[in-house]
């Protein structure tokens, strides 16, 4: 690429000026028409902003932002979009990365499915288990996830260990919290039932979607 091609010729430069300004001159626009256009645009802008404000305020249509550790950060409103928030996969990914998974094994069918290398190393197992659990979690898609910060984690542990725990599937459990606004959560544990992640679920039990 040669620099001599870079600068336009004087003729080109002369042509490109007016060409690049191929716009109608401003002074031909009447201020009244400008004001009318501005008013109409403002109405459209208010519709958009009003819609956003309504969405943020609406309890029916909201999207909860949850941090990587499962805490509720805030509520964004977006009708219907809450189904996209299967948040907890992020939680699980981070929790599982803490190295508590050496004792776990991965079913062969998942190894085959995921085409993971089965080198037997702790890190390999950890990664394989992580993927396995993530896939398990996404199979049991978690709709309308919520988190009640008023319920302490110790209480969660107690519930997981208590009679309210129902096995779902293998090492993922649903738990009922009597009296809480959001009465169900999912606990991801290792095979010794040590908690790796707790995932509160609002409303219905965990649904299994394809």
């Amino acid at each position: 690429m040669q620099s001599r091609d870079e600068s336009p010729s004087p003729k080109q430069a002369e042509d490109s000026g007016p060409e690049s300004l191929e716009v109608a001159p401003l002074h031909k626009i009447s201020p009244t028409r400008g004001l009318l256009a501005l008013c109409l645009l403002t109405v459209c802008w208010l519709v958009v902003m009003g819609s956003a404000a309504t969405s943020y305020q609406s309890g029916q249509s909201h999207l909860r932002i949850i941090d990587a550790h499962g805490g509720l950060i805030g509520v964004i409103a977006q009708q219907g979009q809450q189904r996209m928030v299967n948040l907890v996969l992020g939680v699980a990914a981070r929790e599982l990365a803490k190295g508590e998974l050496k004792a776990l094994t991965v079913p062969k069918k998942y190894k085959k499915l995921l085409k993971l290398r089965s080198d037997g190393s702790p890190s390999g197992k950890k990664r394989a288990m992580q993927v396995y659990l993530l896939k398990r979690l996404t199979r049991g898609r978690l709709n309308r996830v919520n988190y009640d910060a008023r319920v302490p984690m110790a209480k969660f542990d107690e519930l997981v260990a208590g009679a309210g725990v129902k096995a779902y599937p293998m090492n993922i459990y649903t738990v009922e919290i009597p009296g809480a606004d959001h009465t169900r959560l999912v606990a991801v544990t290792d095979q010794k039932r040590r908690r790796l992640a707790l995932v509160p679920v609002h409303g219905s039990p965990v649904s299994v979607l394809p």
Partner: protein
């Protein structure tokens, strides 16, 4: 380690754009560094796929060197002395702001993930890191750029890849604000210019859809960023002919980023491609300037897809089959050849209103393609069209957002003279028409979609939102200028 991939991408962007830093100007140079640097990961995975090497520190070093060689090489021969070089303080401030923002994201730990986040990006990234090679699913359903970014993130010792995504959103907002202030509202006085730029940027930032895609680990925000970046670069190329070459390259690289972020990106890449075609004619781009755009556009794209064809052959897929990818890549090559050929079409180049003619021709071509698709696939068109419109206005979870956007667009068409006075509005309108024509074609022929917020087109429509915001803000700026002119003393008005 969560911020490593962001910091390294920023450094790569700075290095890649170093030869053109004076042409881009200090604010744009820093603003472009991170999104351009991210593209390097696409070339690393293309290298590992093509050679069968592991995705390791060594292949990252080689891939990065190739990326820097490609981008810096494409800037060879840029004329010198266009503007001042960025100061060391500007590097310090930019680094602190961007890395600081990444640290803030880590401290907040905020992320949104869904099925696609895990299955389309995180696990393929993990597999790419382990196997070093693209898979059929990756090329057919998810495209290689984001899995490559996830693989790099894991290589640097991090786990869940979430920090880069809010950074994409921050860059999209900053780029939008920059385009408004620098170009589209430049005819206003300092105060209304600043006020309107900030209002428009904040309005975009607070939209629920924008907040969602800022945190959601998916391709939406990155695609929106690269589409916006390509169009901003094309607008900037009109500003100063001596900097046109540098901006043409940026536009090409951003187009490649758009194409590599999603499988249907290979189709949407024609949006900036056709706007570039209009500018090649109207602004009389030189062969070198066209070459810079083409190298940026096709260099990374060809590397990724040729590596995939070499490794996987012509893959089968529900979304993008190998044959279709080859066809789209061929169409991109044809577009590139057309860009070189257009300046030789003497009847076109001798017209007094070349830009208007080009815009008219390209809109007519889009209308003909849509009409042909409607004739060939009437059932698919009906289903796709119904799903697209119903989702945007009723079932897609946008509230009244698209009602306001559509009404605002109709308002602009009611005032044609004002629209013609608005900066870049003809080409933004062309871009939006092409975008929806491509969307309609893709979804009618291949993927009619469903009535749901997570429908593919319903999410893809988000990519056009910053462009709509730009188009409407530029128009609003013209209306404000017309109103303010009435308040000025008569002699000054005569000067205008």
């Amino acid at each position: 380690m969560d911020i490593a991939v962001v910091a390294i991408s920023l450094l790569l962007g700075w290095a890649a754009l170093w030869p053109g830093r004076r042409h881009l100007g200090t604010p744009a140079y820093h603003l472009l560094a991170y999104p351009i640097g991210v593209l390097a990961w696409g070339l690393v995975s293309a290298l590992t796929t093509a050679t069968g090497m592991d995705f390791s520190a060594m292949t990252v070093a080689i891939g990065v060197a190739l990326f820097l060689g490609l981008v810096c090489g494409a800037q060879r021969g840029l004329s010198s002395g266009v503007g001042p070089a960025p100061t060391s303080r500007s590097f310090l401030v930019t680094g602190l702001v961007i890395v600081g923002a990444a640290v803030a994201v880590v401290l907040m730990g905020t992320t949104i993930s869904g099925w696609d986040s895990i299955i389309h990006y995180e696990i393929p990234g993990l597999n790419l890191l382990e196997a070093g090679s693209y898979s059929k699913d990756m090329m057919g359903e998810w495209a290689p750029l984001l899995p490559s970014l996830h693989a790099a993130n894991r290589l640097f010792g991090s786990d869940w890849t979430y920090v880069p995504y809010p950074l994409f959103a921050g860059h999209a907002l900053a780029l939008f604000g920059y385009a408004m202030y620098r170009f589209s509202l430049a005819h206003l006085g300092p105060r209304p210019r600043l006020l309107l730029s900030i209002t428009a940027t904040l309005s975009l930032a607070v939209l629920p859809a924008f907040v969602l895609h800022s945190l959601n680990v998916h391709s939406q925000m990155v695609s929106a960023l690269y589409l916006l970046l390509a169009l901003v670069a094309l607008r900037a190329s009109c500003q100063d002919s001596s900097a046109r070459g540098a901006w043409a390259l940026i536009a090409g690289l951003a187009a490649a980023g758009l194409a590599l972020s999603r499988p249907d990106g290979l189709a949407y890449v024609f949006v900036p491609g056709l706007v570039a075609a209009a500018l090649v004619v109207s602004e009389r781009w030189s062969r070198t300037e066209i070459a810079r755009f083409v190298v940026g556009h096709l260099g990374l794209l060809a590397a990724s897809y040729l590596a995939a064809f070499g490794q996987l052959g012509l893959w089968e897929s529900r979304k993008l089959k190998g044959e279709q990818a080859a066809l789209m890549l061929g169409a991109s090559v044809v577009l590139a050849l057309a860009l070189f050929a257009l300046p030789r079409v003497r009847p076109l180049m001798s017209l007094p209103s070349k830009r208007r003619v080009m815009v008219g021709l390209l809109i007519t071509a889009a209308a003909l393609v849509v009409a042909a698709v409607a004739l060939l696939e009437p059932a698919g068109c009906r289903k796709a069209g119904t799903n697209m419109v119903t989702n945007l206005f009723v079932t897609g979870g946008y509230g009244h957002l698209w009602w306001g956007v559509a009404a605002g667009s109709v308002v602009t068409l009611l005032f044609p003279r004002m629209l013609r006075s608005s900066d870049f509005s003809d080409l933004l309108l062309l871009a939006l028409i092409q975008f929806f024509a491509i969307a309609f074609t893709v979804h009618s022929l291949a993927f009619p979609g469903r009535l749901h917020p997570a429908d593919s087109f319903n999410r893809v429509a988000f990519h056009s939102l910053p462009v709509f915001a730009w188009y409407l803000t530029a128009f609003a700026g013209t209306a404000v200028a017309a109103v303010l002119r009435a308040r000025e003393p008569a002699p000054q008005r005569a000067d205008l």
